[in-house]
Amino acid sequence: MQNQSITQRLANPTWFMSFSARVLPWLSAAAGLTIAYALATGFMTPPDYQQGHSVKIMFLHVPSAWLAMMAYGLVAVSSFGLLVFRHPLADVSAKAAAPIGAVFTLLALVTGSLWGKPTWGTYWQWDARMTSVLILFFLYLGLIALRSSLEDEALASKLTAVLALVGVVILPVIKYSVEWWNTLHQPAGVMKGGVDPVFLRPLLISAIGFTLLFFALHMKAMRNEILRRRVKARQMVEVDTAARRERAGVAGASVS
């Protein structure tokens, strides 16, 4: 155990359960405090000269949109880890990340829509950015539906992983949609100095807070999935033992 690398140790579900049990409360507390601080400072910012107070939706919308994409990246990397390296926790990670990514994508769509109405005068338009994020949401739903529609878990994991890797093409489309097409959605401005420091500071703190929350939720979902697999393995052993006993009983009866 001493000579194992961090990736080797992380590949061990028992080690992961013990590690995550220690880390999860601290991660959750850090996420809660960071988000609370970010939103408290964000709500005290002055109104934007163009958007007025509606700019405050940015502190929830932008982190949700970032995490929607990051979560899909994690699903794709985990799927690659499953298909290529057969990492024991890769499938657990991919399965756990998909519903959380779907939730953040839904939040990005809903908050974007609620920000769009006072800013653009409409809740929705079929422009490239909004439509590509909607496709990402359906892709998440597709991954969840495909996995739950197959009885054979090993096959479900592999097929879901392949779909996740094919679907990764949506990430550059979302990222560059505002540059490739003429969209109602404004171009990315956070990393290009397009956001005033008054708003940028709470925005970055909010992004850190929501990222910590994402990892806390992902860790918890992975723990649940490991427990679910242990339950299933025990149930299989029970069924197997009961069948063997029944066979032995039948054989004993036929001999006597």
Binding site: L39, F43, P47, G52, H53, S54, K56, I57, L60, H61, S64, P99, I100, V103, L106, L107, V110, T111, L114, W115, K117, P118, L213, L217, K220, A221, R223, N224, L227, R228, R230, V231, R234, Q235, V237, E238, T241
Partner: protein, 55 residues
């Protein structure tokens, strides 16, 4: 003036954060509930196994 009074944008801001809080609380609650359910199932199976092996 209420701290949540942002003029004509108030309903949009309040709706965004209310939906965000509700959705994230529901996800967190579901994960906690699911974790407890799996742990209880596993504990019940372990207890049954130790009972069977002691017989």
């Amino acid at each position: 003036m209420s701290p949540l009074d942002f003029g004509p944008h108030t309903p949009f801001i309040v709706a965004s954060y209310a939906i965000g809080a509700l959705v994230l609380a529901a996800l967190t609650g579901w994960l906690i509930w699911d974790g407890r359910r799996q742990a209880a199932l596993l504990a019940a199976l372990e207890a049954r196994r130790s009972q069977t092996s002691s017989k």
